[in-house]
């Protein structure tokens, strides 16, 4: 087993994978990397299964020291990573020699970066996944849902490949203001005509009330005119509108069922981009029908083949 020791961490540094599946009917949330796209690229760089366990570092404040020579990979936000003070850009695999320190400082571009290791970081699977869900006390290094803590050891047992980069043309552009695609849902027709115009024709500002359960968007007040709803299953990326008329996009740690009306759900790629936005950032929403979103997602998956 190749090892790293955590020198610094925060409650926002978590072991994650793609999340828990087959257990939603028990009230267990999905969990998993908030930017699933960057997690996949971090794993791809090492020839891992795309859903192997990675470290999700949000905003920075994380550091590891190598106990052995390591080959690691980084994808997602630029959090000002440095190896012994030398800058390290994401979207590549790299060598961290025994004794070297890899440190993540502060967000320069994006919010979350994914650190991967050959074969994935070793962790017990709880209900089929190592994803850390603090609220549910599931996953993580000890299986009890704790964030990564200073002094803990990260280990992996996979074989190292040669160092490589994600081709430039395939890297998600975190700086681009591409609108976020929303697959239109069944209640879309029950919002006022003005609201439907406003949703897709005005800018939305990310509120500071944002976590792995949901991100609140501030902007024009949306008006739902339908009947009150009975709680029902909530998909990843659902855009729900509570009575205050300000939408909330639901992320990986969302509740499994809920009763607010919905505009629809962000596509996985749109959600990955939203997860890289900091509070105060502006986003725009764009309607898309399910068939088109499906085709685009299949095309995206071809990138990894």
């Amino acid at each position: 087993m190749t090892r790293l020791t955590i020198e610094a961490s925060t409650p926002l540094c978590l072991l994650q994978d793609a999340g828990r599946f087959g257990v939603r009917h028990l009230g267990v949330t999905q969990g998993g990397a908030a930017d699933g796209c960057s997690m996949s690229w971090a794993n791809w760089l090492l020839g891992n299964a795309l859903n192997a366990a990675v470290v999700e570092i949000t905003l920075g404040g994380f550091a590891v020291v190598a106990e052995d020579d390591c080959l690691l990979a980084l994808a997602g936000a630029d959090l000002g990573a440095q190896i012994d003070g030398q800058p390290l850009a994401p979207w590549r695999s790299f060598i961290l020699l025994k004794g070297q320190i890899l440190r993540f400082n502060q967000p320069l571009l994006g919010a979350r970066v994914y650190l991967a290791a050959p074969g994935g970081f070793a962790a017990p699977k709880v209900l089929g996944s190592s994803a850390t869900v603090v609220r549910e006390a599931l996953g993580g290094l000890d299986g009890m849902g704790l964030p990564l803590a200073k002094g803990a050891t990260l280990g992996y047992g996979g074989e190292a490949l040669a160092v490589r980069e994600v081709p430039l043309t395939l890297r998600p552009d975190l700086a681009a203001g591409t609108p976020l695609d929303v697959v239109l849902g069944a209640q879309i027709g029950q919002f006022s005509g003005q609201s439907l115009f406003d949703v897709f024709n005005s800018a939305w500002t990310l509120d500071s009330r944002a976590d792995r359960m949901g991100i609140r968007l501030l902007g024009k007040t949306l008006e739902y005119q339908g009947q009150p709803m009975i709680s029902e299953g909530i998909p990843l990326g659902a855009v729900q509108v509570p009575p205050d008329g300000q939408p909330i996009v639901l992320l990986n740690d969302r509740q499994t069922i809920g009763g607010y009306p919905r505009l629809g759900a962000l596509t996985p790629l749109a959600l990955a981009r939203l997860a890289q936005c900091l509070p105060g950032a502006q986003v725009r929403l764009r309607p898309v029908v399910q068939e088109v979103a499906h085709r685009e997602h299949i095309e995206y998956l071809q990138c990894f083949v």
Binding site: L26, A186, I230
Partner: protein, 234 residues
């Protein structure tokens, strides 16, 4: 029943079977769940049942939206209500006491019943498990007698003890773990509602039935209950 299939996400469809919460929905919901699990097989990623709906999360790398829609429609052909032989009946011991269920007095006041009568009536019925959600193993059950119905607290508690039994409108539930909560608390159960080492993890599953049984403080402790008063948790 008037089934409709609705789009909810790139890889999820909602099957809407009913428009109101009712105990009579359950045999149909269970039958539809079973049919969908069979129809989708390995292409089913998650099936999320709630009171009137079943959300189907399928593998989009294998199925086009139209194919998933067709599978759901086919699965519903000649659907008949489940005979419910699969649902288990659970008896949950509950220590009904003001120190762990402070809203016992509120419910007594609202209903004009004595506290003992509130307890008797809550534990007299057999409840259906409509859905699991909110937290792992948190079962939404009902329906409680109309006279015991009460709205959620206007300000939810920051901390509700594990095992707390509560009422919200005509539903009742028990909190599997310490969590925030706005239900009217009336007692506490020592039962372990969610256990990662148990087969199926959750004690209760949708379609199961539950009866609450009043137990003494001594029995509650003997069964492993934690009698820390609610206010000591705050």
């Amino acid at each position: 029943m008037n089934p409709r299939i609705e789009v909810v996400a790139v890889d999820c469809l909602m099957l809407r079977l009913f428009d109101e919460i009712a105990e009579a929905n359950m045999p149909w919901m269970l039958a539809a769940s079973e049919r969908l699990r069979t129809a989708f097989g390995a292409q089913l990623i998650d099936l999320v049942p709630s009171y009137t709906t079943l959300m189907v999360h399928y593998d989009l790398t294998v199925l086009y939206p139209a194919q998933a829609r067709a599978l759901i429609a086919e699965a519903l052909i000649d659907l008949s209500p489940s005979t419910r032989t699969s649902g288990q009946c659970h008896v949950l011991p509950v220590w009904y006491d003001l120190s762990v269920g402070p809203e016992l007095s509120l419910l007594a006041e609202r209903s004009g019943l004595a506290v003992e009568e509130v307890i008797r009536r809550h534990s007299a019925r057999e409840y259906e498990v409509f859905a699991l959600g909110f937290a792992p193993g948190f079962a939404f059950m009902g329906l409680v007698e109309e006279i015991l119905a009460a709205p959620r607290l206007s300000t939810p508690r920051k901390k509700v003890a594990a095992g707390s039994v509560g009422i919200a409108e005509r539903q009742t539930a028990a909190y599997p773990v310490v969590s925030p909560g706005g239900w009217n608390l009336i007692g506490r159960t020592p039962a372990k509602l969610f256990d990662r080492h148990r087969d199926g993890y959750s004690l209760m599953q949708p379609g199961d039935t539950v009866r609450f049984e009043a137990v003494s403080h001594a029995e509650f402790i003997k069964l492993g209950g934690d009698d820390t008063p609610l206010e000591a948790l705050a």
